[in-house]
Amino acid sequence: MRVLRSVLKYILAISVLSIFMGPMLWVAVNSFKTVSELLSKPTLVPRTFTFEHYQQLLKRTSFLRYFANSVIVAVATATITAVIGALGAYSVFRCRYPGRNLLFKMLISSYALPKVLVLVPLYVALAKLNIIDSRTGIVLVHVMLVVPFSVWTLRSFFQNVPVEIEEAALIDGCNRLQTVFKVFVPLAAPGIAAIWLNAFLMSWSEYLFASTLIITDSVKTLPVGLAYFLQEYSIEWGIMLAASVLVAVPAVVGFAFAGKYFIQGLTAGGVKG
């Protein structure tokens, strides 16, 4: 009976794992197959291992340019979000002033809003300000999309830093700003890392606003650039699979480094801590 239970446990765990990880692995394997193998009967392991699709992707498409744009936009979004989000969260959770509770509620409710509501007004406004069709415009929007959730995520991290430590720093002669940057921020660093990664991933993936606000090929981000190829009647599968692997890599690497804090931040928002 116990053996049976244990076997069942592993069967279930392996099924769950293969349902959620399998598809990506399958695509990664296929991206190294030759075109003829790709389009014939599926094989589990490539008969001939080739980098052909990766070479074609880099040679024939603007993939590298899109990649660079995405890196610029995502890093800028993540960094700005981490700075203004952390300052905002410190203010909301640590300071006392009238309207603070209202502000907090508005922040939480804003991520339940249908964001498509601001699509047209933002398009019109950015066109008027002449920052449409630019990376700046996208960063402006991406920070807005992710900052409320970031404040929420920081809540439990910030609550774990005792007020007494800041008081001690004040007594030792630090001024207010120094206590925040020299004492508080280093202690809350995992939380800030979590919101940085979350903002990076959101921006790296975001399609709706990026695709409406960008027209010129030279400023397109990865999702916008690649969506165009996916729309073609005859999709060049080899190239698309290689592209999807390369787009996934930064997300996976980022998660490998900071995933622990990321999960911690995610669950802290849902589980009352």
Binding site: A13, R96, K105, Y207, L208, V247, T267, K272
Partner: protein
Amino acid sequence: MRRTYSNLLRDPIFGLLLVTPMLLWLTFTLMIPMIDAFRISFTSVRYLGAPGVFVGLSNFKRVLADPEFWQSVVHTLSWTVVNTAIQFLGSIGVAIVLNQEFWGKNIVRNWIILPWVLPTIVLAIVWKWILDPSHGIVNHILFSFGLVDKPVEFLSSPRYALLTAVLINCWRWTPYFAVIVLAALQTVPRELYEAATIDGASRLKNFMHVTVPSISSVLKVVLLNSFLWSANIFDTIWLLTRGGPLSSTTTMPIYIYSKAFRNFRFGEAAAASVLMFLFLGVLAVLYLTKVLREEELK
């Protein structure tokens, strides 16, 4: 002495200064555009840059008279309800499986969220490839087992497209919520189960009477978030099907997007988005009163 420092820490002016950058940012990119959406919904903007002409309620009338709009409402409802149901039950199931003790559990518990971490464009490429009628593995398997006699057009037949998109979206979001439910499961004290088992409770009873009540506040948050976020999803559907075939996957966000950037009827698009805001607003209020009652700031 101690009080003084405590008060200094809570200096109101300092607090307001720190929150200012975020506040300004959100005012200009979220608050003002939101108000502007309402204004645009009452105007007719035929091309960008032209000042809108006030047209009263005519955008709303046109949208409400459009059968495609109502079709999108129905699609949004079925998309959202089915997504929420599968994600909610699925995440509990996955969380229970992952909550067991097994070799490699820590790695699996972290990496299970991979589908959510991957960008939507990757998800679209992955599933379009797997479900491709001529080269995809799923059709190959169905075919070789003799379950179908011609390839299933998962994403390009009006019959299956919406359901396929729902399942793909669930594939992405179930692990996300499972990670949250799992964290909640781990906070349930073991003694509670032991006590219940001594009292003769079965596994099922244990689950219904110990687990569920202990994690119910998290389950409520999962349910509401799953619902609100599903209703708002655009990119997954758009990248998989572009709302087609024959509008069979056109939900409200897709309808609004197409109205604005395919038909260039910005006024009508704004009107439709205001309507969607009002529909979801009811739920958002529910969400707020539910979640925020428990989340008052100290």
